[in-house]
């Protein structure tokens, strides 16, 4: 069963990749193991915790619930693709830093990607909307308040950018 691989072409964080993957492997494993993008985390591997959330053609998706071969031709953004090349944090990262949003930070990649998708679609969400939109991501450390604060800080930072 090792011998059977399928060619996969996708763009991740702006870089094109052409690799051969076993069809049974999920996208998160391929990102982490084949592309060494270990910033995307696996918390439950059954689609509930959201730690593996990445953006696929702009939409947040669970990389653990998607076969890698389904990403053929897609543009993918992971946590590693958010900061500028010079290391300057994305405003959402900077805001989460300011708000002291996370503790162990294992859930962080998922919250960042979900937040970026949320603020793109709704640049000034209410607190209730933030909580609802982030309810697909589990955090066990913080009680979420600091993460909601981080999103609200991001709204301010990104608003002042415009």
């Amino acid at each position: 069963m090792n011998d059977l691989t399928i060619p996969l072409t996708m763009q991740v964080n702006g870089t094109d990749h052409s690799i051969d993957v076993e069809p049974r492997r999920h996208l998160a494993d391929v990102l982490r193991e084949d592309l060494a993008l270990t910033g995307t985390h696996l918390g439950c591997e059954h689609g509930v915790c959201g730690a593996c959330t990445v953006l696929i053609d702009g939409e947040p998706a669970r990389a653990c619930l998607m076969l890698a071969v389904q990403a053929e031709g897609s543009e993918i953004v992971t946590i590693e693709g958010l900061a500028d090349a010079d290391g300057t944090m994305h405003p959402v990262q900077a805001a989460m830093h300011q708000a002291m949003s996370f503790q162990c930070a294992f859930c962080t990649p998922g919250f960042l990607m979900s937040t970026i998708a949320l603020l793109r679609d709704n640049p000034s969400p209410t607190t209730e909307e933030i909580r609802e939109e982030l309810s697909g991501n589990l955090c066990r450390c913080t009680g979420y308040q600091s993460i909601v604060d981080g999103v609200e800080t991001a709204v301010e930072l990104m608003g002042s950018d415009r």
Partner: protein, 852 residues
């Protein structure tokens, strides 16, 4: 009055300094255990029992071995033959500690019990191979609950135990019988808490790398206690007979003299603790299982003779909440397999495994009697408690230890004149019980729930009953009735008074009637507690004489030849922001910026031995305390050298923002790099430390209590049973705060887990002890929709003691279940007696639907 000397001119301590950890973690540059190169290691998967209780009749691994990509398959018989059984720890007279191996050979005792290990070139192939292993089980009746465990004809989980009760202890303080006779009323209740599980977002994992030349094991692990894992791997992987180890040790002069010196130092440092040890624990264990002594001898002799111990390193860890403190059977199995094969192996637990046996907690019940007078004066507390420990005890802390904490904590910050606790620990066919954030927390839940029950029976206000009975600074006895010294400067009473003042009773009446008009019920609940964080000097001797052996915290500060300041901690942080807070503390002492300080943690080759690592709310009081003491000592040595160089008095030396100068003359200053260069030149070295200070720290500040009162408002929709929490307040006092952002996060995170426990999370085993909650679709972890904003009020008593920050990691979860279940009782006008209250249960309690 301030507890800190802030010499940096910047004063980091006390500030909401942003986390340095985030600079890496927010950009995806973490180093978690599963983040290594997967092609550099082999991958492991465990075959686990589908039955709660069964005999293993036969196991056939031939088809698995034949699978392409499988490198080796270990049966339990093979691996156990090369490892030692887990020895008993914290033995107590009358407690039976079952001995068990890393895999189960003849009998499985819970669903998920590991019986075989596959090592393959990928995790997927290893899992494929598991399906090819043929195990013939003969199923046995299983023990699925405390009730079933206690039945006369119950199947025995452990054959050598007398029954399923592994320990049964009673402690009495004061004259309980007389107090009940004298009191106006006796009020009784039975309270139950179902099983919970810690569930950090990162599962457990271990990567064992084997040095091809000398076989040295280098271990990456998600451990909260790297040094204990190192010790356990060294101990359990010894496969030399005792006599050969003794011979090797005797012949090795170097080992002998090193051991002699270490033993002498250890005895000198711990004389009173050693003489306090109770030998009856070992005697009773040996009586129950004669193989205990040869096992301990073999391990002891083997450790003496061992030429090489593993190195354990912990990098970034994705939470633990207690579950990553114990050493697991899987870790020993992987260490053994790697050692036997001479090849590096990685095991990353999956979520289903973590739910099965990654650590479970708090399945306990309490039969309580309270002696109380008509005016609400609490006279005595009499509790009969039972702990469901599951099958295998956690290692090194068996669940029965919870009872020892209860026996000290249970009266709480109240003036009970007498107290008795009977606590039994029973074995069932379930996953292992580990410490979970405030492992003793149900003493607070039970007591605070019972106080409300008493108030209801006597038609008194629960806040008034607490206020009447809480130990107040002005009349505080010198010690709890159960032993530990109290501290009038930081009392739970202060938090209680503050919290009660935050409840607007008129507004509450209004809120209740508004809720009722909407078909809802609203209620408010209070919980008040104190926790030893780390506790007064006699806290541990109250738990068990001599139990503070090895509980000190070592730390080291160092100035390197190149001017780098390094702080070495034995803590193993997994989300608590130690790097930030320790840099704050050290930078203040050294008078430098936080960037000038490097924190070294998690590597057993570089840090000092500790039994516990991170746990028990020790990171602030002890971990940061030893950072402060050692940093100051090195700073003072630097000041002496600088005084010489500047031809000044050392008392005139100031260090501000890294500038070491004579007071008033900052322009003629020097840097740590200058001082380091001078010392390095004097010593003729170019690298390594030029100044070092190492301290064994047992500081407990002024009593070491951390105190809080929680108040919860809950709103229950009588149509759906849905609960909202319109307001939640924590009034806490953990002494001087190092970083309020970190403290807020610890408090809120703990409360969130308490909310989960009460309304969402129940680890459910059916009557056959089969786990029903094996995914996050079944075990419900609350989301941002369920956890409300949590107001945190810091009273922050600034004592004049140094390093007087108190632990705050566990308190949130200690207080929340009590405040919430009290609020539900108030809302529904019934006395809740179970901790877990999902919507259907709330509707039953409200009389909307009938019981099952």
């Amino acid at each position: 009055m301030t507890a800190t000397r802030q010499t940096s001119g910047l004063g980091f301590v006390g500030q909401r300094v942003m986390r340095v950890e985030d600079e890496r973690l927010l950009i995806g540059d973490g180093h978690f255990v599963a983040d290594g190169d997967p092609t550099a290691v082999l991958h492991a998967a465990f075959l686990r029992s589908p039955f709660a209780h069964a005999d293993v009749v036969s196991i056939d691994v031939s088809a698995a071995r034949a699978l392409d990509g499988v490198v080796r398959v270990f049966t339990a018989a093979e691996l156990n033959a090369r490892t030692n059984l887990f020895p008993p720890f914290l033995m107590t007279n009358g407690l039976y500690a079952p001995l068990f191996g890393c895999l189960s050979e003849r009998r499985v005792r819970h669903v998920g019990d590991p019986v075989a290990l596959v090592v393959a070139t990928s995790r997927a192939i290893a899992e494929d191979a598991l399906e090819l292993i043929d195990v013939d089980y003969e199923e046995l009746d299983a023990v699925g609950s405390i009730k079933a465990a206690l039945l006369g004809n119950a199947p025995k989980v452990w054959e050598r135990a007398k029954g399923n009760v592994l320990g049964d202890f009673t402690d009495e303080f004061g004259d309980v019988a007389a107090a009940f006779d004298a009191a106006d009323h006796t009020i009784e209740a039975t309270l139950t808490c179902p099983r919970q599980t810690n569930q950090p977002m990162e599962t457990r994992g271990i990567v064992v790398t084997v040095d091809p030349d000398d076989g040295h094991l280098d271990v990456r692990s998600t451990t909260q206690a790297p040094h204990f894992l190192k010790w356990a791997l060294a101990a359990l992987l010894i496969d030399k007979p005792t006599l050969r180890s003794v011979g090797d040790f005797v012949r090795n002069k170097e080992r002998r003299s090193a051991f002699g010196a270490a033993a002498k130092e250890f005895v000198a440092a711990n004389r009173h603790r050693l003489t306090e040890q109770d030998p009856r624990g070992l005697l009773s264990q040996v009586r129950a299982d004669r193989s205990t002594l040869p096992l301990m001898n073999r391990i002891g002799a083997g450790l003496l003779a061992a030429a090489d111990y593993p190195t354990v390193r912990a990098g970034d860890i994705g939470g633990g909440f207690g579950s990553k403190g114990p050493v697991s059977r899987e870790e020993i199995a992987i260490g053994a397999a790697a050692s036997i094969m001479g090849q590096s192996i990685q095991w990353i637990e999956d979520r289903v495994e973590n739910l099965l046996d990654g650590g479970q907690a708090r399945e306990e019940q309490f039969r309580v009697r309270v002696a109380v007078d008509s005016d609400g004066t609490l006279r005595a507390l009499d509790v009969d408690a039972i702990i469901d420990q599951g099958a295998y005890p956690g290692f090194p802390i068996p669940p029965s230890v919870t009872a020892k904490f209860w026996k000290v904590y249970m009266p709480g910050p109240y003036d009970f004149g007498a107290f008795r606790l009977r606590a039994r620990t029973v074995a069932t066919n379930k996953g292992k019980v580990v410490p979970y954030r405030g492992p003793w927390a149900n003493e607070t839940w039970m007591r605070e729930r019972v106080i409300d029950i008493v108030a209801a029976e006597l038609e008194l206000d629960p806040g008034d009953v607490r206020a009447k009975n809480v130990l107040r600074p002005e009349s505080m006895p010198p010690a709890m009735i159960t032993g530990p010294t109290l501290d009038e400067t930081m009392s739970a009473a202060k938090t209680l008074d503050h919290a009660l003042a935050m409840i607007d009773r008129d507004e509450l009446v209004q809120q209740k009637s508004t809720a009722e008009a909407r078909g809802h019920r609203l209620g408010v609940g209070i919980a008040c507690y104190h926790e030893a964080a780390p506790g007064p000097a006699n806290f541990w001797s109250s738990i068990e004489p001599g139990s503070d052996l090895l509980l000190y915290e070592d730390g080291r500060a160092e100035l390197a030849a190149d001017g780098t300041i390094r702080m070495y901690t034995s803590q193993s942080p997994h989300g608590q922001s130690h790097q930030t807070t320790y840099k704050q503390v050290a930078a203040d002492e050294f008078g430098v910026s936080m960037d000038d300080v490097e924190i070294v943690w998690g590597n057993t080759d570089r840090t000092q031995f500790t039994l516990l690592g991170t746990g028990g709310s020790r990171g602030g009081p002890l971990g940061a305390g030893v950072m402060r003491v050692t940093a100051r000592n090195v700073r003072d040595k630097v000041a002496e050298v600088a005084a010489d160089m500047l031809e000044a008095n050392v008392s005139d030396i100031e260090i501000v923002a890294g500038n070491i100068h004579v007071a008033g003359v900052p322009a003629k200053g020097m840097t740590y790099r200058d001082v380091a260069a001078k010392l390095a030149a004097d010593d003729g070295i170019t690298s390594g430390p030029v100044l070092t200070d190492q301290v064994r720290y047992e500081g407990v500040g002024n009593g070491g209590w951390s105190v809080a009162t929680h108040v919860a408002w809950v709103d229950i929709d009588l149509e759906t049973g849905e609960v909202t929490i319109p307001r939640y307040v924590v009034v806490e006092d953990c002494g001087p705060i190092i970083n309020p952002g970190v403290v807020d996060g610890q408090v809120r995170g703990g409360v969130a887990q308490g909310i989960g426990a009460v309304f969402y999370e129940k680890h459910h085993y059916d009557e056959h002890a089969t786990l029903m909650t094996t995914t996050y679709m079944d075990y419900l972890i609350p989301t941002a929709m369920e956890i409300p904003e949590i107001e945190v009020v810091h009273l922050e008593t600034l004592t004049d003691g140094e390093n007087d920050a108190r632990g705050v990691g566990e308190g949130g979860m200690i207080g929340a279940p009590a405040a919430l279940t009290n609020a539900v009782s108030d809302a529904l006008g019934v006395q809740v007696t179970e901790q877990h209250l999902p919507p259907y249960r709330l509707l039953e309690l409200a009389g909307i639907i009938g019981p099952d």
